[in-house]
Symmetry: none
Subunit: 156 residues, 2 copies
Amino acid sequence: MIKNIGNYRQTILYGISLAILLLLLRWLELRYVILAHSFEIYAGAIALLFTALGIWLALKLNNPKVLTKVIEKEVFITQTANFVLNEQNLIALKLSARELEVLALMALGKSNQEIADQLFVSLNTIKTHSSRLFEKMDVKRRTQAVELGKKLSLIP
Amino acid sequence: MIKNIGNYRQTILYGISLAILLLLLRWLELRYVILAHSFEIYAGAIALLFTALGIWLALKLNNPKVLTKVIEKEVFITQTANFVLNEQNLIALKLSARELEVLALMALGKSNQEIADQLFVSLNTIKTHSSRLFEKMDVKRRTQAVELGKKLSLIP
DNA sequence: CCCAAAATCACCCTAAAGTATGAGGCTTTT
DNA sequence: AAAAGCCTCATACTTTAGGGTGATTTTGGG
């Protein structure tokens, strides 16, 4: 439960110092037979000392209040650099992984034939994918699909 | 106001340990038939009191150190919102005003026929514009032209 | 294991995009 | 005035894109 003794070291040291002080006073009392009227002096000294100790303790123990200042800093970010896919939109459109892949390649300006070559499938397959893609996205052309895809953060 | 008691636990523990210490001294006093010099008790009480006073003083007077924590909050700025045309790139490519206009409409996903209708010219004119556009931009397809146009900040 | 969705491919057809070439009118620059 | 550049349009042609239909295989979840 108490992991770090270090936190209580000050308290322990303080207690020890108090004990030593009291013993010292006791010793002085016995040694020099302190007169009763000098009690006020001791009391004052003790008061002063322990006030200082209290202050020191409080300052040590009091965690500095951290005032978090949130400063809005306008950061221009190329949206390609830190692109995060909007999964909500993706799910909403019910696009399959392959369809999204085709869309991404379309956005790069690739032709259907180039996409087919890159994905190692036939041209007809890409045509089928693109058709389904346009149907799901409710667009008529690939340029519209790309435009909408970027707006919905489906592609960078 | 004081949210975390945990900060003061050490202080409380210190008070308790002090009390125990005093009791111990009292017990020693009785044990060894120490004369009823109540000086220690007074000293302890004063010590306790003024320690508390010191703590209280310190907490009252101590201005909380304001640790300004600057958190850079990234504000995403849609590039469409504050689009500025990169005239250098435009001049470098030697695009005419009409060609840029056609490119912008292409970027919106419009077909050549739609662009022709919108600009009140014939389909063939748009084809000519687009051909020259692709030639100047050194691209083969409209999707590539749009991609490059956005990259070069020719269009939002 | 079975079913549904996804992925794959083919064929045919139409629409759109893109290329090539030529040409007339218009403005700006030299 | 001539040259150059831009905008316009046309015709003819090729390529690419896209729609419709049908089919097979793969795959993930109940």
